[in-house]
């Protein structure tokens, strides 16, 4: 049924469960899976380009490692995992990538890393489920 799945991956417990679910579904449906990591904490309204570049390099190294681990996990499960790394607001970016890439299922963990803000503003999973152009599976 599903051909192209996008799993949001930030290394949190929820994201790891979502990744595991996506790998299972990929095997069931013979679907293509892409893991998306979003660099959410790039400094806004920066005073120097240097600050942005250094933070970006740090985030790329951090998320690069996470995605490498995800690829290894997928390889063990016998699934090809494509990976994407984007900068921006988590929910907005997930929805945008889902739309641009023509994905037919987005998987997100029930809770991500932005715990404190989520209590006030809603979780990334809630926002993605409201705005995504396709089905959304929130994994608990």
């Amino acid at each position: 049924m599903y051909r192209k799945m996008l799993v949001a991956y930030d290394g949190s417990e929820g994201a790891r469960k979502a990744l595991a679910a996506s790998l299972e579904l990929a095997k069931l449906h013979g679907a293509e899976v892409t893991a998306l990591a979003v660099q959410e904490k790039l400094p806004r309204f920066a005073a120097t380009i240097d600050e942005v570049q250094e933070e970006k390099e740090y985030a790329e190294a951090y998320y690069g490692k996470l995605l490498e681990q995800a690829r290894a996990q997928a390889a063990e499960a016998g699934v090809e995992l494509k990976t994407l790394l984007r900068a921006g607001h988590a929910a907005q970016t997930i929805v945008q990538v889902a739309r641009e890439g023509g994905f037919d299922l987005v998987l997100v963990g029930h809770t991500g890393l932005s715990g404190v803000w989520a209590a006030f503003l809603g979780t990334t999973a809630e926002k993605v489920s409201r705005h995504a152009p396709c089905s959304v599976l929130i994994v608990r």
Binding site: A26, K27, G30, E40, K41, L42, P43, R44, F45, A46, A47, T48, I49, D50, E51, V52, E54, K56, G64, L67, R71, A74, A75, G78, V79, E80, L81, K82, T83, L84, L85, R86, A87, G88, H89, V97, E100, G101
Partner: protein, 401 residues
């Protein structure tokens, strides 16, 4: 002596808190430092604390920070992109400086009743475009590697050049010292790329950092000459950054170490000091002027830049986006306002209005551009392909249908 350590501890404590908040909130450390500095300074005024009043050594660190920040901004130029897009970037960048400079200066002088030199500082501080704010937005939207992104960055560079030239030349004393400063600077700019290249290859790569010390030496010598000529030390710093930008393309390690030194020791003192001098009562009293100057900056940027973007064939939505990004400002605006306050061209109330206006221009146009005017002209080839990190081994694990 004991007091120096307590003062240093208080300022470094604020800098540390600002770093942690910056990481948690995803907002630049400079903005958080200004905000915390403002709170600390105003609490100090209310309760009679002296610990957050700038001292001579804090003033030196803050002043040196502004010079190094300007140097780093100068070193960000991409010569290749500028050569390719020189015509639109020069036109847009120049108008982006001139229109708000003249507009805000005229408003402050004729409507606000500010003295001539205060009005000039207002014009310079509000003429700026923040290359860093623009760059951060474009990294998020993936535009930094597109033609439109490079055009906007090159134009920002020209605007900043206009700002440092205005700051360096408007208030200078036109005498023999200015001539000496100009000649020495020109000769230095001509010879320094070669000297630095030779010096870096011969003495570089050591933990005692001879390269950074050479850069600091050049900045302090040229800065000293600039101040003697009643010019401003940021002018030669920006130009020096421009001429040795090429060296940093090949040697990222020096740049990384220079950034570490600057962010750890220098910039916190500049931005916290910039915040401590903002008077909240003055801000409340001058709220009308603040709003008017902010709107004047926005209007003059729009009137100046948008038609030029259209003239150079940039589509409407991208023109809106470019105009809004070029209307941002932060570092150079703060440097200009602090320069004005330090030299007595503006008072603390005027300074508070200008710095707040500059910060507002970093935040408001950025949000508007991101929310309503994000470019969507994919067919122009402006959009980057998503980065796919993966190796051939992954294709060996393709599921069999």
């Amino acid at each position: 002596m004991e007091q120096v350590w307590y003062t240093a501890a208080a300022w470094i404590g604020v800098a540390l808190l600002a770093s942690l908040l910056s990481i948690r909130l995803g907002i630049s450390v400079a903005l958080v430092e200004i905000f915390l500095g403002c709170i600390a300074g105003n609490l100090g005024t209310t309760f009679g604390w002296t610990i957050f009043q700038p001292t001579p050594w804090i003033n030196f660190l803050a002043g040196f920070a502004s010079v190094v920040l300007t140097f780093l901004a100068g070193a960000e130029i991409e010569p290749e992109a500028f050569r390719r897009l020189w015509k639109p970037s020069l036109a847009i960048g120049f108008v982006s400086f001139l229109a708000p400079f003249l507009g805000c200066m005229a408003y402050a002088y004729y409507v606000g009743g500010w003295p001539g030199e205060s009005a000039q500082i207002a014009g310079v501080a509000l003429s700026t475009t923040s290359m860093a704010v623009v760059y951060a937005v474009m990294v998020e939207t993936g535009l930094n590697n597109t033609e439109l992104g490079k055009l906007i960055l090159a134009a920002c560079f020209i605007t900043d050049l206009g700002t440092v030239l205005a700051l360096g030349l408007l208030f200078a004393e036109y005498d023999r010292w200015l001539l000496i400063f100009a000649v020495v600077t020109l000769v230095a700019l001509w010879r320094l790329p070669g000297i630095c290249r030779w010096f870096f290859s011969l003495w570089g790569g050591r933990v005692i950092e001879p390269e950074i010390k050479l850069i600091f030496l050049v900045l302090t010598v040229l800065g000293g000459l600039a101040v003697t000529a009643r010019s401003e030390a940021v002018l030669p710093a920006y130009l020096f950054g421009m001429v040795i930008a090429g060296l940093f393309v090949h040697d990222k390690v020096i740049l990384h170490r220079l950034r570490a030194t600057t962010f750890a020791l220098l910039t916190p003192f500049f931005f916290i000091k910039a915040g401590t001098l903002v008077s909240l009562p003055a801000l409340v009293a001058g709220f009308g002027m603040l709003t008017a100057l902010f709107l004047m900056k926005m209007v003059t940027k729009i009137v100046g830049i948008w038609p030029l973007c259209r003239l150079f064939g940039i589509p409407v939505r991208e023109s809106n986006y470019t105009t809004l990004l070029m209307a941002t400002g932060l570092t150079f605006g703060s440097i200009s306002a602090l320069f004005g306050l330090t030299h007595g061209y503006i008072d603390q109330a005027q300074y508070s209005i200008l710095v707040t206006g500059v910060i507002a221009s970093a935040v408001i146009p950025t949000i508007i551009a991101q929310v309503w005017f994000h470019p969507r002209e994919v067919s122009l080839g402006l959009q980057e392909e998503p980065v796919v990190l993966g190796t051939s081994e992954h294709f060996l694990h393709m599921p069999e249908d």
